[in-house]
């Protein structure tokens, strides 16, 4: 027996391709290391845990970049359980960058709230691992496990503020409804498995194609239920109800994290399963109507409900629902342009949304989050840079040039029009006109001089890392709007590289 034989990592058995999961393995390793480090770290030193976790994320990001070049020819690994392709790696990159940005604003926020416990970092890494597994999932079982992994971590994180009833309520709601959604998801998977005899996506696709023109009712019911489960994770209407409550109750740094990464990862699974596994015209015609409806419902409900809110966290929660609706356009429309349009949209949404939530996070003071409209008034006169950055994020979310959000909407709507789905594009354009109202209202508030008799709010000073995150996201928002092809080319290549055959 050679030395290599003892080390299965270096000489794995055939079919096991450790490199295919390198980023996830690194992150999971970081998760374990953090759990152990937490035991020996003094409470005052917990800032170092943030450093360690950022290092782990950076390592995983490096691995992702390396894999990107390695995965020029897409393939499945682990006997078809995972897809090793640029599509998944693109999503990985978004998740990892978002995670790193969130980790950078975290310690300051947790310290102010007296919540600085070490397991926070481990849980974030655990959730991120689950999301990356979801992005690369090549089998229904892996999708389920990945969703559970990320969900359990997020349930705990939502309730991380143990003394705050709102946070407890958020965790409880998320847990119960999430469990409910998992039920739908699993039931749908069972039906699909029962009909096709496979859990592996590529084999399911082949089985459907070989089915020869007939569609079984149970398969369709399974697809519908599977969609319900995933729609819950992207908080699409009418499965969105948990979103505003949880976003508002959870600690803001957690909201920042999950508002972006969960959605990005779940969209990856949605696109992989629906656009590319269930893309067979016969089936597509039947599930299309559901997704079509959900897309429009999300755009309408998200934007309309945001009009009547007075808490910025809830506004951003509803705005996230609406943004999910726009990205769903890219799922309904099956053309490649729609897919890379959605990928571009996900990247631009991640940058702007992290920035917007980061503003609330870094400005929060010891007692409260200061996310009410009243507390935003006149922010620009006391924190000019923060207000300017916030304005940029809102412009991007509203879809104004020259920010990333303009091109994101442009690509998705153009893809819809190109695929002769004009009504969908019109719904999108109409509802984004509505959205301008509440995005600009926030901007207007920030740039309105407060009356002398108004109470003054005690915004915290921005720390170096917090300011860095705002600067990075602001720069990203602008760069993606000016050097469009920089990210666009990567998104196109991610779309081209998606695994289609086992």
């Amino acid at each position: 027996m050679t030395v290599l034989g003892v080390l299965p990592v270096l000489a794995p058995p055939p079919g096991i391709d450790i490199l295919g999961l390198l980023p996830e393995v690194i992150l999971a390793g970081g998760f374990i290391v953090l759990m152990m480090l937490d035991l020996v770290t003094a409470p005052a030193q917990r800032g170092w845990l943030a450093v360690v976790s950022v290092v782990a994320v950076a390592g995983a990001f490096g691995a992702t970049v390396w894999c990107w070049f390695d995965a020029a020819t897409p393939r499945t690994v682990y006997f078809g359980a995972f897809a090793y392709d640029r599509f998944g790696l693109f999503i990985n990159a978004i998740i990892l960058v978002s995670t790193a940005l969130v980790l950078m604003i975290t310690p300051q926020y947790l310290n102010r709230r007296g919540l600085h416990y070490g397991e926070y970092y481990a849980l974030i890494l655990g959730a991120a691992t689950g999301m990356m597994l979801l992005a690369g999932a090549g089998s229904l079982m892996v999708i389920f496990l990945a969703i559970e992994l990320l969900s359990i971590a997020l349930y705990i994180l939502s309730g991380f503020n143990r003394t705050e009833p709102r946070s407890q309520e958020a965790a409880m709601k998320y847990l119960l409804l999430g469990g409910f959604a998992s039920g739908f998801l699993l039931f749908g998977m069972a039906l699909i498995y029962g009909e096709t005899g496979h859990t592996q996506l590529t084999l399911i696709a082949a089985a459907i194609t070989n089915g020869g023109g007939t569609v079984d009712p149970l398969l369709m019911a399974g697809i519908a239920l599977l969609f319900v489960g995933l729609a819950f994770k992207i908080s699409a209407a009418p499965f969105h109800t948990w979103t505003p409550d949880v976003y508002q109750g959870a600690p803001t740094s957690v909201t920042t994290f999950m508002s972006v990464t969960t959605k990005v990862a779940a969209f990856a699974a949605l696109i992989r399963v629906f656009s590319y596994t269930f893309g067979e015209p016969l089936i597509y015609d039947r599930w299309k109507i559901i997704v079509y409806f959900v897309a429009i419902a999300s755009m309408v409900v998200g934007n309309v409900a945001a009009l009547r809110q007075t808490s910025l966290k809830r506004v951003l929660g509803y705005s996230g629902i609406a943004q999910g609706g726009y990205i769903l356009i890219g799922v309904v429309v099956l053309t490649p342009a729609a897919t890379w349009g959605s990928l571009y949209y996900l990247a631009s949404y991640a940058v702007a949304n992290i920035g917007a939530f980061a503003v609330i996070t870094v400005m929060a003071n010891r007692g409260e989050d200061l996310d009410s409209y009243a507390s935003l008034r006149g922010l620009a006169f006391r924190r000019p840079y923060v207000a300017a950055a916030m304005g940029l994020f809102l412009l991007s979310l509203g879809g104004f040039p020259p920010t990333a959000g303009f091109f994101a909407k442009f690509f998705v709507f153009a893809a819809a029009i190109g695929a002769h789905e004009l009504p969908l594009a019109l719904w999108g354009i109409g509802t984004s006109a509505v959205s301008v109202f509440y995005y600009l209202r926030v901007g207007l508030l920030m740039y309105t001089r407060p009356q002398p008799d108004e109470p003054s709010y005690n915004w915290s000073r921005t720390s170096l890392s917090g300011g860095g995150v705002l600067a990075l996201t602001a720069a990203g928002t602008l760069v993606m709007g000016i050097f469009v092809t920089l990210v666009l080319n990567i998104a196109v290549s991610a779309q081209n590289g998606i695994v289609l055959h086992g």
């Binding site: 739908f184 319900v228 945001a306 009009l307 050097f483 092809t485």
Partner: protein, 655 residues
Amino acid sequence: MTTSTVAVLSGLILLLPLAGALLNALVGWRLSRRVVNAIGTGSILAAFLVACVMLAQVVGAPDGAKSASAHLWQWLDLGTGGLRVGVDVTLDPLSAVMLMVITGVGLLIHVYSVGYMEHDRGIARFFSYMNLFIFSMLVLVLAADLLILIIGWALVALSSYLLIGFWYERPSAVVAARKAFITQVAGDVALVIAAFLIVVHIGTLSMPGIFAAAPSFASGGLLITVVCSLLAIGAFAKSAQFPLHTWLPDAMEGPTPVSALIHAATMVTAGVYLIARFHPLFDRAPVAQGMVACVGIGTAVMAGVIALSQVDIKRVIAYSTMSQIGLMIFAVGIGAYSAGMFHLATHAVFKALLFMAAGNVIHALHDEQDIRLMGGLSTNLRRTELCFLSGTFALAGIPLFAGFFSKEGLLGFGLTNGPGAFPWVLYLVGVGINVLTGLYAFRLWATVFRGEPQTARVYAAREAPRVMLVPVAILALLSAFLGLILGVWSLVIHDNFLIGVFARFLSPVFTTPASGPLAVDLSTGTAILAGIVGTLGSLLGAGLAARIWLQRNPDPSAVTARLPRALPQLAYNKFYFDEIYDALLVRPLVALARAARRVVEPRFMNSGVQTVSDACSELGAWVRDYQTGLIRDYASYMIAAAGVFVVATLVLVSR
């Protein structure tokens, strides 16, 4: 001149002013005045040095390779058949000339601003806007894609708006800024429509692509005429030509360095540049060309007459600018592109000089701008007067000053190359403009500097500080000797004395048969005769002015007083254009808006727009009502929706 050199140099020249603008905008308020000044002028100095290198690159390039385009990055790419917009730049003799004008004159004006704005609190904001303007202007002249050019075009309008309204506490400045911006937007719209027509017909917005495809337009056809007319309207709005000229005099509300930079040297000449740049299209649209030429010369006459009647020192210069740009527009309208560009360059020098010297006067008199209250300033402002005089000589086209070469060259073309059956008609009008120019140029000098002081304030006037004098002096030397040097150089290389070197430098750009110096030889007897007659016109105007106004108590309205009353009244009120536009456009629009508020809005909008907005709001409240916060409600929505979805798919299956 390789592509990568062009890419690096243009990247540098664009980034430097942009970095200066951003730096002053973001952190300027916490920096000391000295650092802000250094950033503001330093970035332009660096850009000027880069521009010199770029000019050297063009000069040093072998014949036939004087033009190079570089692709900086792809901005938009919608796949095959879709629109592709690249951030491309072109360096050729034409853009090199513009670069030198923008950064060279721009640098001197920035230095001058350090002194002029010394006591202004918003200095960081000022320099940030000025740098932004230089950046926008550079984008405009370097762009090799029509969409990028339009972006620069619009950014220029934006920075002009910001600078005219720089003193935003003054209501008049805010109104003037708004007027300028709205007029410019009218031009922008024309330009954008032209771009639409071009992209529909040719399928690209890349300028080399457009010019290569120019033969696909039927010469003199309807489409090319419409496209060129729209481009010309865009140029008219930017260059303050009739009928879109009324914003320029009001724009004098901005600080004087702004007037010198934007409203004399650079921005207002962008229209001339645009037409010269798009000459392959204009050469195929004789009707549009004729229209351009007539509008140009008409504006020149009109503005010259108005200049003669105005009493505000900056407005006189503003109308003279309008008149001179009219001549340039006339030149590019008759295909004399090199001559028009030459006048653009010399005009930038002597007009910036006149504005800055006027700024010295205004500064010395503590913001007094009425020439009736000046006079006799030559004793206290000796150096400023010398510089001003150099500019006046150049403006009036006195032989051997810079303006003489470019203007006589330009008018010479008018005689030999003018549109229509009687080119000499337009030429005679041009000679008339020369007389007018001489009159108003020397009238200004005589009433401001000569004669007896009209107010006590003049005795207390003090010469401007060195930082404001040196830039003016440099420009004064240039306006005295630039033309002469180039003229002697032309003689050395046996070319046309007036515009030889310049035309030869630009000839790689204007190579089409109908354009440029290739078509006409200026050294013929007719041309020499034309030059002599034109010069005599200028001298006549200058002499008349000296006779009328060189006295102890000159009367600024001496000429106009002798004419029938209606005429001076018309001229003094700027031919009532503001009033006409007010009556034709503003009042009807305001009335319409009022009517809309009183009739349309309550009757129709409340049932339309208001309903939509109410409905959205109601719907929002309704959605919020469903947001009960109770888990059992949320779970039942999910079950209901899932049930509907499953049933829907099943029904569809059985279909």
